[in-house]
């Protein structure tokens, strides 16, 4: 899997301060099409901050982002979405009171014009949702089911479906299996593998070595806000990666 050409997404020298605290210092990251990069690190190592920089939620204090070789400045999550950079948040970022379909299209709902007024096109939402869930082989009773009625694994599947509904090129997942029952973890990992096959670049942040070693091609470790180590997955071992998390090489 090391035949990757130019990276799809590349971050160079990302530094982020919160007041006097340095959350990230000079961090580099890259991911290629069809590749899965695992990002590991202890609590507070800067993983989530880095992901929020990539999704446009935080502006970096310095450093630059390149998407398909072109430098991009992300002012908001909308900007990153427009590029095809999607985020699956740890707390899932779904509105439980809304149905599955409306969650998948939240903020980007298809509309139809009646006169000069724009109305939501509920039929289209339903149609697109069913087609998309079918493509990802996600089974739910109905696209009209409210998200709060779903199990943890189903919610994670909806969150992933949401991130890929608009021709995503890079999907960033923060602890995708953290809150799941064991039998649901496998389904989510299968989903990640099938995303890779469609040429999407995936970044997975995880504490779970099982996740990293079953879906990732490359793994990088952050330690106290800096790049600590990086390797192709085939050239490393669980024990070595666990050592990196604790700051040992």
């Amino acid at each position: 899997m090391s035949t990757f050409q130019n990276p799809l997404l590349e971050a160079k020298g990302i530094t982020k301060y919160f007041g006097t605290i340095t959350a990230l210092e000079n961090v580099d990251l890259k991911v290629h099409a069809g590749e899965c990069l695992g990002v590991v690190g202890d609590n507070g190592a800067g993983k989530s901050t880095l992901m929020k920089v990539l999704s446009g939620l935080y502006k970096p204090s310095s450093g630059s982002l390149y998407f398909q070789g072109k430098e991009e400045i992300l002012e908001s999550p909308k900007d990153s979405q427009n590029l095809g950079l999607e985020m699956v948040y740890q707390d899932l970022a779904l509105a439980g009171n809304l149905p599955i379909g409306e969650n998948i299209f939240l903020g980007r709902e298809p509309t139809k014009n009646i006169g000069f007024l724009k109305f939501l096109d509920f039929n289209k939402i339903k149609e697109l949702t069913n087609a998309h869930l079918g493509k990802l082989k996600i089974n739910v009773k109905s696209a009209d089911q409210k998200v709060e009625e779903l199990s943890g694994g189903q919610r994670q599947a909806v969150a992933i479906a949401r991130s890929t509904a608009f021709n995503a090129k890079v999907v960033i997942m923060d602890e995708p299996t953290a809150a799941l029952a064991i039998k649901e973890v496998g389904k989510v990992l299968d989903l990640i593998n099938s995303l890779k096959k469609t040429g999407v670049g995936v970044i997975v942040i995880s504490h779970r070595m099982d996740d990293i070693f079953s879906v990732c091609d490359r793994v990088m470790a952050l330690f106290q806000g800096t790049n600590f180590a990086e390797s192709e997955l085939s050239n490393t071992s669980r024990d070595e990666v666990i050592g990196w998390i604790m700051g040992k090489k």
């Binding site: 999550p77 979405q81 970022a93 809304l98 939240l106 709902e109 724009k118």
Partner: protein, 337 residues
Amino acid sequence: MEEKDNKKVSLYLKLMPYIEKYGILLLLVLMILVMHILQPDVFLSWRNVTNVFKQISWQSMLALGVFMVIVTAGIDLSVGSIMMLSLMVLAIVAKAGAPWFIVVITPLIAGFLCGLFNGAGITLLRMPHPFIMTLGTLYIFRGTGNLISGGTPISGFTDEVRYLGHGRIDLTWLGLEKSQYLPVSLVLIAVVYVIFWFFLNHSRTGKWIYAIGGNPSAARASGINVNKILIIVYSLCGFLSGIGALILAGRTDSGYPNAGLQSELDAIAACIIGGASFFGGRGTVLGVFAGVMIMGILRNGLNLMDVSSFWQQVLIGSIIVIAVYIDVLRRDLGTRK
């Protein structure tokens, strides 16, 4: 035995969406029936029914505004004061001799600006909770209303200004009697509620209002400008309070310092009785209407039966607590923990 229980629960789950949507209407119909049985000659008479609608007309505007705010998991305590300030502005502009079409739009603009002030304060000043901002403006707006009017009533408006609150649509062409007219305020309630129903259920902004109430961080992560939507919601709430002021001006023919005193609490009560959740993201326009009607009918019915207004307070309070308890039970069964 256990299977039977499961069946019972699953039947309940199937019925739930309908109970959630229309249960409150059942309660309303039940109340109307009970009142009709207790007061068969008076309660459903043309005169009394139109009376109820005239009485709830301005409250229904405040309740609808507060409802949208509650859907975002916020609260607006200032609607009564916004209405009073808008009413005073209207009265002063009317007394200054402005033409009626100017007088009619002034409370709408004043209400909108008050709401904008609330929304801007909550988002830009990063108030920890809308309760605080709108508690502040509850005093600010009423104080301002008293300052500009000198704290005294200003009475006497033209018929055009009073039309929405006081106007009658003659129905004699339908073969009805002269006394069987349609109050303009009833038509206004219907029009405004239908427009806002469409807005909340069929527009993107409306969907986003529900999404913000369901999970604000999800809305933000979806690229929704949460602060902008909140400012829109509070501004619309102020605007509806301005419509309330216009109706009240028509009904009472006067701008008076005590207008809308404590009506913010009635508005909140109507929303809660109508099934809106304080946690946000839940509730329907139809529910709010039912909530307003239930409170209106209760007051009217108890007045007809000559029950003391102290009992009215006790009953309305009890209905709030019972309505929310039913909501708690529903949640226990309805969502996975």
